[in-house]
């Protein structure tokens, strides 16, 4: 088959690909990371680039997304456009995935350090005619009665040379009382583990010193599985329809973890060989894909996962570049859409030990909700959609440089922008703020309708003139052309407000139903925990004002940051916490919301942009 060269500007990277290759694939090969929240289905238009030559004609999908003028200028969607000749492609910055800001602090809590992996320094007597014990027996007997021999051959194969080279001064590495490796000299201080939170969007890794439980480095990156789709369902679809995509999804997340290991290692000087254990949490789909297990059952009723219990595998068998004898602990999940990450949230927030009523919500593409009452735990997942992570919102973006993350409206509009640059988009916390403020000043009605300039006569003039009507309906300019990045006005459209209403209704409705599940009202809630990066940056008053969460006194609302990641660290550093996590996964009741009576009826109220529940 014919091959062609595709050159990407402005970086000038070029790749040679077969005729018919999608530009999105060519870009991936060239090391470019294009936005792809819709999973390459041609719906979001976020992977647009300029490719005037060497490509096929625009598809009907592109003709819907792009205007005739844009098509005329060579604008195309990378996910739809195929290479048919040597091509010169210009990639705008707005189509690239950029540096991001995420939660790496998290809620801290005390833990009893008792890791699964321990190292013991041994000064062994050299063999003699009086003491002719075999090498392995010499090591095991020094370790005591409960030490088990290696399950694999490699440690034994290394042992004879190692003992003699190191003059019988060695360090034994034990995992769960089993000898997994022997190292020369005393290396007890060099015992490390990695806790990883694999999110649908973001992956965070904590490098921990196991003897003390201290975090020595934190590294994070976007989950590169996004090239297969921004949400869990599109990845399930990809993994199910093509075994090659299942392998690709698996390799993608392993590559991200390896990259995080390399970065944490580079930053601290800790050798990846010193990492003997990794504890991983993620939603149920992420756990499947990490292990290369098909999530097919999660895609359709009755939504069944392939496994629920914790899985322990050798690092080498997954291709994770730490000590090959290291083990990977994949935490247990609660149900098909409530995963090990939620177990992590419960563990970090100690919801399993609540006497009074507590409710936690992890707001992301899926909103996971946990209610704890008198030792009983209920959890559910609501499909909030990606609105709070930037997709489906016309000017939406993730919380990275250039994102408006807070908005105030008085006589004028005052936006706070991450990185103190001109704004180029709006992230989740900015979206909630913007809508709360627009409702407060009367530019948007509680039903979600954006007023026309004529109707909004009570607004201060400088605010009112930001209301603009065009062929798509009303828009509100958060940043005028002269205030925004690339001199393009940044507007919140009437449609954006509607999308947010749908997303927040899913989360609010889910929380209300979960309270109903335990026979409680919002007033009964002793504590409401907001987990996840979004939860940490969101202004509580705005979340309450638009009814994203039920009316709980503001002082009872606590942001606990990346609680899922904290949970992973607890499981890494403490076997008793790990057992506790298993008990949490086993005992938490998974509530399937779509089967609850009343979800539909409550939906109208849940969509209102006001403090909820409404006074009845």
């Amino acid at each position: 088959m014919a091959e062609f060269t595709v050159t990407f500007l402005p970086d000038n990277g070029s790749v040679t690909v077969a005729s018919g290759t999608l530009l999105a694939e060519a870009a991936r090969e060239a090391g470019l990371r294009l936005q792809s929240p819709c999973g390459g289905q041609g719906r979001c238009g976020k992977c647009r680039l300029q490719a005037p030559t060497g490509v096929d004609s625009p598809t009907p999908v592109e003709m819907r997304i792009l205007s005739p003028a844009q098509l005329n200028d060579g604008w195309r969607l990378a996910c739809q456009t195929r290479v048919v000749g040597d091509a010169l492609v210009t990639v705008p910055e707005s189509s690239l995935v950029v540096e991001h800001r995420i939660m790496v602090e998290g809620a801290e809590r005390e833990l009893l350090v008792e890791p699964n992996v321990r190292k013991l320094s041994l000064r062994l007597p050299a063999p003699s005619l009086e003491d002719p014990r075999a090498d392995l027996n010499r090591v095991l007997e020094a370790l005591g009665d409960d030490a088990l021999p290696p399950a694999r051959l490699e440690p034994l194969q290394h042992l004879p040379g190692l003992l003699r080279r190191s003059d019988y001064q060695v360090t034994a590495v034990l995992a769960d009382s089993r000898l997994v490796a022997v190292e020369a000299g005393d290396t007890t201080e060099e015992t490390y583990g990695l806790a990883v939170d694999v999110g649908t969007t973001t992956v965070v890794a904590y490098l921990c010193h196991l003897p003390t439980g201290a975090v020595v480095a934190v590294a994070s990156d976007l989950n590169s599985q996004a090239q297969y789709g921004g949400d869990v369902i599109s990845r399930i679809q990809a993994a199910t329809s093509d075994p090659e995509d299942l392998r690709g999804l698996n390799r993608a997340i392993i590559a991200v973890i390896n990259d995080l290991v390399a970065r944490a290692s580079h930053e601290t000087g800790v050798s990846p060989q010193a990492i003997y254990e990794i504890a991983i949490v993620g939603n149920t789909c992420m756990s499947h894909l990490l292990l290369g297990v098909s999530p097919a059952g999660l895609g359709t009723v009755p939504f069944v996962s392939s496994f629920r219990s914790p899985q322990t595998v050798r690092a080498a068998s997954l291709g994770i570049d730490v000590n090959p004898e290291g083990s990977i602990y994949v935490a247990p999940n609660i149900g098909s859409f409530v995963g090990a990450d939620t177990v992590g949230v419960i563990l970090a927030g100690e919801l399993d030990r609540s006497d009074n009523l507590r409710i936690a919500v992890d707001i992301g593409t899926n909103g996971e909700i946990v209610v704890a009452k008198e030792g009983e735990l209920y959890a559910c997942s609501t499909a909030a959609g990606p609105a709070f992570e930037g997709a489906k919102i016309s000017c939406g973006m993730r919380a990275s440089v250039g994102a408006i993350d807070a908005v105030r409206i008085d006589d004028e509009v005052d936006c706070h922008v991450i990185g103190d640059v001109r704004p180029r988009g709006l992230c989740g916390s900015g979206l909630v703020d913007a809508i709360a403020e627009l409702v407060r000043v009367g530019a948007v009605a509680e039903t979600g309708r954006m007023l026309t300039r004529g109707e909004a006569s009570a607004l201060p003039e400088k605010v009112r003139e930001r209301l603009v009507e065009n062929e798509h309906g009303m828009e509100f300019a958060l940043a005028r052309a002269d205030e925004a990045y690339a001199d393009e006005p940044l507007t919140l459209t009437a449609r954006d407000v509607r999308e947010t209403q749908l997303a927040k209704a899913a989360i609010y409705g889910g929380m209300e139903l979960m309270l109903h599940q335990v026979g409680a009202e919002p007033g009964d809630v002793a504590q409401l925990l907001l987990a996840g990066a979004f939860g940490n940056y969101i202004r509580r008053e705005s979340a309450l004002a638009i009814g994203l969460i039920p009316s709980v006194a503001a002082e009872r609302i606590v942001s606990i940051g990346n609680a899922a990641g904290v949970g992973a660290r607890l499981m890494l550093c403490s076997l008793s916490e790990r057992r506790r996590a298993q008990e949490i996964a086993r005992s938490t009741v998974h509530v399937e919301l779509s089967r609850r009576e009343g979800f539909y009826d409550r939906f109208a109220d849940a969509m209102m942009l006001r403090s909820l529940p409404s006074e009845r």
């Binding site: 009907p60 895609g299 009723v301 499909a383 009437a494 089967r595």
Partner: protein, 207 residues
């Protein structure tokens, strides 16, 4: 007929109590049920649909208008009504999402269709059986997951196999569904939202 105009206003603004009150009044004034349905309820829901398409109304307004509409319709039960067509509607096999499907069903009902709602997780065979039993003119399918939308194709095929394909029109919708997907599976129509679904249904079933 001022009472019908007042009924329309009550439905459009989602006032359930007023909708009941004016329905009662219209019946007391001796208006025929079919007149109330066509000139009161359906006319009101058409305005609601127009406002929805104009982005003036959205799901909350639609929901409260539907609630008022249903209150009014329920007072008409037993009275003869001329339906403009019969629709079999459901969320496809493997899928439990029903908010969008419920919206469409209510809009169709408000427009004067007889609606047979098969609820959720509806198999191709169930669509076929219901279309047969009810002599349906239209089959409307919803899917919210990319993993389940394939069932739409299977249902279209099952309708063909059952020899029903020239008797019923098929419309599809739901977040992952597009016009091109509808074309690909040989559905007769695609609607991006509840208001357009009614418009599309009326187009497909010329009186």
């Amino acid at each position: 007929m001022a009472v019908l105009e007042e009924l329309q206003q009550a439905i459009i603004s989602g006032n359930r109590d007023k909708a009941k009150e004016f329905t009662r009044k219209a019946l007391d004034e001796g208006l025929e049920a079919r007149t109330i349905v066509v000139q009161g309820i359906a006319a009101a829901m058409e305005v609601v649909g127009e406002k929805f398409r104009a982005n003036e109304f959205f799901v909350p307004e639609l929901l409260i208008a539907q609630r008022a509409m249903k209150a009014s319709l329920s007072m008409m039960s037993g009275a003869p009504v001329d339906y403009i067509g019969t629709v079999v509607i459901g969320t496809v096999k493997g899928d439990l999402h029903d908010i969008g499907k419920n919206l469409v069903a209510a809009m169709l009902e408000g427009a004067g269709f007889k609606v047979v709602d098969l609820k959720v997780d509806v198999s191709p065979a169930q669509f076929v059986a219901a279309a047969n039993e009810n002599s349906a003119n239209l089959v409307a399918m919803s899917a919210l997951l990319t993993t389940t939308m394939g069932s739409m194709r299977d249902t279209v095929a099952a309708l063909s196999d059952a020899g029903l394909r020239d008797k019923v029109k098929v419309i599809v919708g739901g977040a992952p569904v597009t016009q091109s997907y509808a074309d690909e599976i040989k559905a007769d129509g695609y609607a991006p939202d509840a208001a357009s679904a009614v418009e599309k249904a009326k187009q497909l079933l010329p009186a």
